[in-house]
């Protein structure tokens, strides 16, 4: 049974919303990651301030895309939503934990007065930016590999702890860092920070290379773990994959040539992300869960889908101009983030640059990232042990 045109159209809307969240939400998470890696209060001060200025007025609006993904999924594809939420209870809860911690960190860091407190809330904000994309990546990996049962009877740990899922998690983290760094390059340039322009240009390049490598690794894994999606990516979705690779390389070339045109640079990076998300969606066709639940079997009645069209139309009519205004004002620097880490910067200038900062500045970034990854893997192992069912699943 092939899906009806309404179903395909709503699925396309869903993929577009996912792409938007990957882009805008991803850039915000990436900002948190660069905040984490920026080093001690003195060394990381300028970078943190730029990240904060760029994210503060827009993060909440960017966050709404996620709510839209959830709502679209449960309205248009209720059985798939129920199955994902049941089988992937653990990674979804952990990604939610990240979102909550991020909110706490965000709400608090602008008002925390003492340096120590600011470092704590800043670290919370930054660490949460790592957790959320990683676990969302494992969720996407689990769906793409078709490991989510149609009628799960509880948590399915094997679904999101497969090598493909874990790799996808890392890919998400890297992609967020990449998008964010690319977006921050023109941001720094517009403010006339030559140092920061170079700083983020370098990081964008590094993150781009890592993202490319992880994407390649995930792609190779998919050939064995998700034959349907692999066939789609090398078949019907191949043009999109090719565009994504080309756009990714183009961004690296632009950065290499110091051609930091705000619109072109961002648009090309955005293209690289959007086409990958689109390619994934296309490669899954005609399945919600390859190959156990088809779009047709999992879709809601026609009127619900039509309702979602109306909502999408209204969103286009109302939300798009709003966003245009918000980003325009932000780019015109009409929106000033009040109470930027004034205390942090004050302290950074007053205090001598001691290496004895407790939260950061002890180890080089590479070692810290490696430690974080090892810790993440150990955490997953521990969670597996805790949550594994006491009896074999029937």
């Amino acid at each position: 049974m092939s899906p009806s045109p309404d179903t395909i159209a709503v699925a396309a809307i869903l993929i577009m919303v996912v792409a938007a969240y990957a882009l805008f939400g991803g850039a915000d998470f990436g900002g948190g990651i660069w905040d984490l890696l920026a080093g001690g209060p003195v060394r990381g001060e300028a970078a943190r301030e730029l990240i904060d200025e760029a994210i503060t007025p827009v993060w909440e609006a960017n966050h709404v895309w996620l709510v839209f993904i959830l709502v679209l999924l449960w309205t248009a594809f209720p059985p798939a939503f129920a199955a994902i939420m049941t089988a992937l209870f653990v990674p979804l809860s952990l990604s939610l934990l990240g979102i909550v911690l991020r909110g706490v960190g965000f709400a608090f860091r602008h008002t925390a007065e003492r340096l120590r407190m600011q470092q704590l809330t800043g670290a919370l904000f930054a660490a949460a930016s790592l957790i959320t994309p990683f676990f969302m990546g494992t969720v996407v990996g689990a769906v793409a590999t078709g490991q989510v049962p149609v009628h799960p009877r509880g948590n399915v740990l094997s679904a999101w702890t497969s090598p493909t899922s874990i790799l996808t998690g890392f890919l998400f983290v890297a992609a967020c860092a990449y998008v964010s760094a690319v977006f921050l390059v023109p941001e720094a340039r517009q403010r006339g920070h030559e140092n920061l322009t170079r700083y983020f240009s370098l990081r964008a390049t590094a993150a781009g290379v890592i993202t490319g490598a992880l994407a390649g690794g995930t792609f190779a894994e998919l050939s064995a773990s998700a034959p349907h999606v692999f066939a789609g990516l090398t078949g019907i979705a191949l043009p999109l994959v090719a565009i994504s690779i080309a756009a990714g390389i183009a961004v690296l070339v632009m950065l290499w040539l110091h051609w930091h045109h705000a619109v072109w640079l961002r648009a090309t990076a955005a293209l690289a992300v959007v086409t990958v998300v689109g390619g994934w969606g296309l490669a899954q066709y005609p399945y919600l869960f390859p190959t156990s639940m088809s779009l047709a079997a999992g879709s809601a009645p026609k009127a619900s889908l039509v309702g979602e069209f109306v909502v999408a139309g209204l969103a286009l009519l109302l939300v798009a101009p709003g966003f245009a205004l918000l980003y325009f004002l932000q780019q015109q620097r009409m929106l000033t983030a009040a109470d930027t880490d004034a205390g942090l910067r004050l302290a950074a200038h007053l205090e001598p640059p001691t290496p004895a900062q407790p939260t950061a500045g002890l180890a080089p970034a590479g070692i810290r990232v490696t430690t974080a990854l090892v810790l993440a893997l150990l955490t997953i192992r521990a969670i597996r042990d805790v949550f594994s069912p006491s009896r074999p699943r029937p």
Binding site: V64, L66, M85, A342
Partner: protein, 479 residues
């Protein structure tokens, strides 16, 4: 062993507790999301229109508090969206197609709200005054409409409509009937009014404390009067609305109503119980007014009121004492708040002044907490009163709950996190206000406009004395 595991796996109590605590927490912040922008804009309007420095300072500070509360509210709202699926996949899988439409509408309004919150909160410095004021208007409208959409989804759980089931699967949906189900007009109005009362009384309460401590400058008087007026207008409407809704519930969800009013048996001349604990068929420590419940339901002592004996025990809500006392608490607080508003209204009518007696200000200082308590009690009534159904008379809670293990763990984590979030949401504004007072104690009495949109500042300083030195409160101007 197998059966025991099965029974444990579908025990809905942890999931219900998690949903209840998440909702109970979020709803307070949601009130600020709905109504705080209106309160702030009222002050800003006075500020720009009359060149009132104190009003502009208030609006500006309130919007800083709003930034914190809205951030936490966005997060706790996301938690709820996740929990719809994480805790109740049995409902979302079956009825997501129906209940999804109001949530989708809410998504649009949430978007608009988030976008214009970004513009309003961070546009103080560089937008022209009236442009800035108007940038807040979409927040007010989207706040009300968004709340209505979410509450429409909750109403649908009380009055499911607009769908066809065959073999347990939804085969067709009418989104308009889903959205405008029988309960929607009552619940949405009730909640929007509640949001304005909670926000108004809470904010007014803060300044009532200031007035009690002797800070009686224009800044504190306005800080009290603006939110108190808004909440005071909502209070009588809310009491009227509550009366209408109670009668609606008596007809639409008679078993819930029976639990609210201790109606054990379907009969006439039903007494109205005030307070009281229900144990083994008897009401202890309660005061009863003969036949008054019948009069309230049908304006006549002979009105027949349906009792909970109309359904088998398995379909009756648990914890009737909790439901009844919550209902009484909500109604009682509603009347007290109405009386406070009426008292000040009377005084203003004849004296054009604010009441400054502690007999008035002390209850006002507590009015915000009372309004929150009333709202939470109301949610307990509607949510516990619907048990054991998640979708009234269609789906049982125990059939909707997730089979995934680990809910007790997430419940524990949520409780800890929400304790932290509560500290943040109360602590940060308190901390801000302390810093504001320390930073520039004289600022609140100053006639100039140290804050406010640039043009208004220019107009005022052209008319009045030159601007005072900027405050070191970490505001954008200070840098």
């Amino acid at each position: 062993m197998g059966t025991v595991v099965h029974v444990l796996a579908v025990n809905p109590v942890p999931a219900r507790s998690q949903m209840g605590s998440s909702l109970g927490f979020h709803i307070i912040l949601a009130c600020f999301g709905i109504a705080f922008a209106a309160v702030t804009m009222a002050a800003e309007w006075i500020g720009i229109r009359r060149g009132d420095a104190a009003a502009l300072l208030l609006a500006r500070r309130w919007s800083k508090v709003m930034a914190v509360l809205v951030a936490v509210g966005a997060v706790s709202g996301t938690v709820l969206s996740y929990e719809m699926g994480l805790l109740w996949p049995g409902m979302m899988g079956r009825f997501g197609a129906a209940i999804g439409f109001p949530f989708s509408m809410e998504g649009i309004f949430f978007f608009l709200e988030a976008i214009f919150v970004g513009v309003y909160l961070y546009g103080w410095e560089r937008l022209p005054p009236w442009a800035h004021w108007w940038s807040g208007m979409p927040i007010v409208v989207a706040g009300v409409l968004g709340a209505m959409s979410v509450i429409a989804a909750n109403s649908w759980m009380n009055s499911p409509a607009g769908y066809t089931l065959s073999h347990g699967k939804i085969t067709s949906v009418d989104p308009v009937s889903v959205f405008f189900n029988a309960s929607t007009p009552y619940e949405t109005t009730h909640m929007v009014l509640a949001a304005y009362m909670v926000t108004g009384f809470l904010v007014a309460g803060v300044y009532a404390v200031g007035l009690l401590r002797g800070r009686r400058d224009r800044y504190h008087r306005l800080g009290f009067a603006v939110p108190f007026t808004i909440a005071g207008i909502a209070a009588p409407l809310q009491v009227l609305m509550g009366d209408v809704i109670a009668r609606f519930i008596a007809h639409n969800q008679p078993v819930k109503f029976a639990a609210m009013e201790y109606v054990t048996r379907t009969s006439r001349d039903v007494p109205e119980w005030l307070g009281g604990i229900f144990i083994n068929g008897h009401v202890y420590f309660g005061a009863s007014i003969p036949a008054f419940d019948s009069i309230l339901v049908g304006f006549s002592p002979h009105t027949r009121v349906i009792g909970w004996d109309s359904v088998p025990p398995a379909q009756r809500p648990p914890l009737v004492t909790l439901i009844h006392l919550s209902f009484d608490l909500m109604v009682g607080i509603g009347f007290v708040l109405l009386a406070l508003a009426a008292w000040q209204g009377w005084w203003w009518w004849f004296h054009r002044r604010l009441l400054m007696t502690p007999w008035f200000l002390v209850p006002c200082a507590l009015s915000g907490v009372a309004a929150v308590a009333a709202m939470e009690a109301g949610w307990i009534v509607t949510e516990v009163g619907r048990q054991p159904w998640i979708v009234y008379r269609v789906l049982l809670v125990s059939n909707a709950v997730t089979p995934a293990s680990g809910v007790p763990v997430t419940l524990g984590v949520i409780l800890v996190l929400y304790a932290i979030l509560t500290v943040v949401s109360i602590g940060v504004p308190m901390f801000m206000s302390r810093r504001w007072r320390q930073g520039a104690p004289a600022e609140e009495e100053a006639e100039q406009v140290p804050y406010g949109p640039a043009q208004a500042r220019a107009e005022v300083s052209a008319a009045g004395p030159p601007a005072v030195p900027r405050s070191p409160d970490g505001g954008p101007e200070a840098r």
